[in-house]
Assembly symmetry: C2
Homo-oligomer: 418 residues x 2
């Protein structure tokens, strides 16, 4: 593989092009629409979920429960049994988020009526989507739980939060996300497991429009402001949509060994690579170093999907830990370890992001564009910050994971085979 | 002096008490009032300025110009010549901010009509005040410039910004500042030369009230939101008022060698020490390490007063640099140097602030309560982050200064003399 990364080789040029497309993306939030209106290929009978696609029968545990919950939320079945029967019969279908230009957080459930952020890459014309954060409660649909409370919160997002934000976004004339992301990295976020500044900056960007709406008599505005307040994770979905729109710009560069997606399902971890189009390179589960909430133990950790590592794909999250020392309280580690891990990621990436800068590293750009070849050469596996789901549903902690080597070996073989 | 800091000595107990009062202060922003209504001893013919008090004839350069500008702004004289004549004749009087429970930024001009933030220490009952930030333009009254533009901006603060914020603060029921300051330290501020997060968090805290005011038809709200937007320094005045209210809680603890104020005028640097009441210990100018804006040179640096080092007095600014790596771009230095300097300050302070925590130092509390005895023992001089004024008026850069040893020698002698 070594020869492939020499300057001027076709591989190097292809990787530089993939890198250029990722870092020159200009994600702009345009509007909020129901998934059914905007996601390519979305249909009423479809429930999208995280990870490389699997037959329905392969989904287990929390991810299976979340799919069933999504079907119920959408009214595709009257009860759990009917939902399972219809899923078994193919009357309710299951799809993979990435195949519909969106990314899922944890189980990552999308159904027809759910609102999604529409984020256009103004530099490339492609669009990335992400649905809304459910709130801080540990029990959420995306952590494999569906009950009346979860349903009511999802409905509130559909009926109140989404329309108010859509109007505010339109009145604002769209919200360029890269400047917010750039500033958030100067304010302690890495935009995967910490989004405190991003959420505040985003709310701030909409405040003039929200204020004007309130002045016009819209009584929901104060309520929505309260919903955003203290909801430090809200911006993650915008970070994910922006990352999806940026990474997708690098899809399909011939010969490029740059990773364009990393995602997991209940069955394992997978990656997509620029030069291999939309193929998934599948591997086993990632390895995890977790910090669990009080009262939980490691044997409770459950894999139920997750596509938020799209942020790492574009130089955020685990690739920007040295910007977010506050994470140590949430997911463990020390500032020294965070810096060390962050520096390690420069060994496996094509370049440094010209807009996402890390103050502690003297404004060095974040390591961006994971190169399959370098991962194999160095044995350094991509690092991701994630929330940890529990066997019985709900979030039980947070931590870092490392992608499994198998995905990269496969990708390399496929690239070599041309 | 060494014996004086042994555990259990009267000095140690006194210093612990002074420290306790500083760190247990609970500064709450109550309202905005004109200086004349609330500052103790404020009169219509009085212009307050930064630093230990001097006779009018001693003020030179930008600080003198700023005092004249203040008199003109307040309508105490029709033109510059009349203002100087009246100041010479004592018909317009000059006072020191600290003697009126307020603190001045740079020249630190207060006149009767200027609005001030009223910050009560809910734990001690005492009150600290600070007036408003003039805006980002390099030419400001507090940098020794007074012209029509400066006047118009000050009037806008008086007539629009202050009344709108006062109403929003009252509607909010007051704004506890310590939680905002605590959060801002997790988001890259040290609350002296960087107040980006503080400003955003403060605006955010008032947003529900401002939105309700807009809903009620107040058309100034949007304008004020715009004035706050991008005005990253806005919160400094609240940080200063909170620091003043906190430091003043430790005034007059018998025998305590803890610094309660650091301030400078055009003539030199001075400190106040808890056990010495309101006496000023005067020294020469501080030493400076500056990073100047493009096109400026070191010989232009001018001293025209400054009391924002009240923030360092309570464990912020130069005592919290390791929380604010972004400062390197504004005032020079590297992350390594910032950490080193920050750690040095633990050598000269009584304790670690229980609320102001530094993520990079694994949530160690900021070094707080500068002990005159330790400064002399170690030879380590307190470090402060400041804006740098130019000879011809206006801000020409930023940097760090070190307090002069003379102030501490004097304080030590006075304490020893009882």
């Amino acid at each position: 593989m070594t020869g492939a990364v020499l300057d001027g080789s076709p591989r190097t040029r292809a990787n530089q092009e993939a890198f250029r497309r990722i870092v020159s993306a200009e994600p702009v939030l345009r509007e909020v629409r129901p998934a059914g209106e905007v996601l390519p290929g979305m249909t009423r009978d479809l429930v999208l979920t995280s990870g490389a696609p699997l037959p329905w029968s392969e989904y287990v545990g929390g991810q299976r429960e979340a799919i069933i919950g999504g079907a119920l939320f959408e009214g595709l079945a009257a009860d759990r049994e009917e939902a399972i029967r219809k899923l078994d019969a193919g009357e309710i279908r299951v799809g993979a988020c990435h195949d519909h230009d969106c990314v899922g957080s944890l189980a990552g459930i999308y159904t027809w009526s759910m609102p999604v952020f529409v984020v256009e890459n103004a530099a490339g014309g492609n669009v990335g989507y992400c649905n809304f954060y459910e709130g801080n409660e540990p029990k959420r649909l995306n952590y494999g739980v569906y009950d009346d409370e979860v349903r009511d919160r999802l409905r509130y997002v559909n009926d109140v939060v989404a329309p108010v934000l859509d109007e505010a976004i339109r009145r604002t004339g769209g919200v360029p996300l890269r400047p917010i992301m750039r500033r958030a990295l100067q304010m302690g976020d890495e935009l995967h497991s910490r989004n405190t500044a991003g959420t505040l900056l985003f709310t701030h960007a909409l405040t003039p429009a929200l204020t004007a709406m309130a002045a016009g008599g819209d009584e929901r505005v104060l309520e929505v402001l309260q919903a955003l307040d203290g909801n430090d994770y809200f911006f993650l979905r915008l970070s994910m949509a922006a990352a999806k729109a940026s990474a997708d710009a690098a899809r399909g560069v011939e010969g490029a060994s740059v990773v364009t997606a990393m995602a997991f399902s209940c069955r394992g971890f997978s990656i997509r690579v620029s030069g291999l189009g939309d193929a998934w390179l599948r591997g086993p589960h990632a390895t995890v170093q977790a910090r669990l909430f009080e009262g939980h133990t490691e044997d409770e950790i459950a894999w139920m999907g997750g596509e938020s590592p799209i942020t790492e794909t574009v130089g955020l999250g685990g690739f920007a830990q040295a910007a977010a020392f506050c994470l140590q309280r949430y997911q463990g580690g020390s500032p020294e370890v965070m810096v060390e891990r962050n520096l390690e990621m420069y060994e496996i990436t094509v370049g440094e992001h010209p807009h996402f800068l890390i103050p502690f590293l003297q404004y060095r750009g974040t390591p961006t564009g994971i190169d399959v070849a370098r991962v194999l050469e160095t044995g350094i596996l991509p690092l991701m910050d994630i929330g940890i789901a529990g066997r019985d549903g709900g979030q039980i902690g947070a931590g870092v994971i490392r992608a499994p080597i198998e995905c990269f070996v496969q990708a390399s073989d496929r690239l070599a085979a041309g």
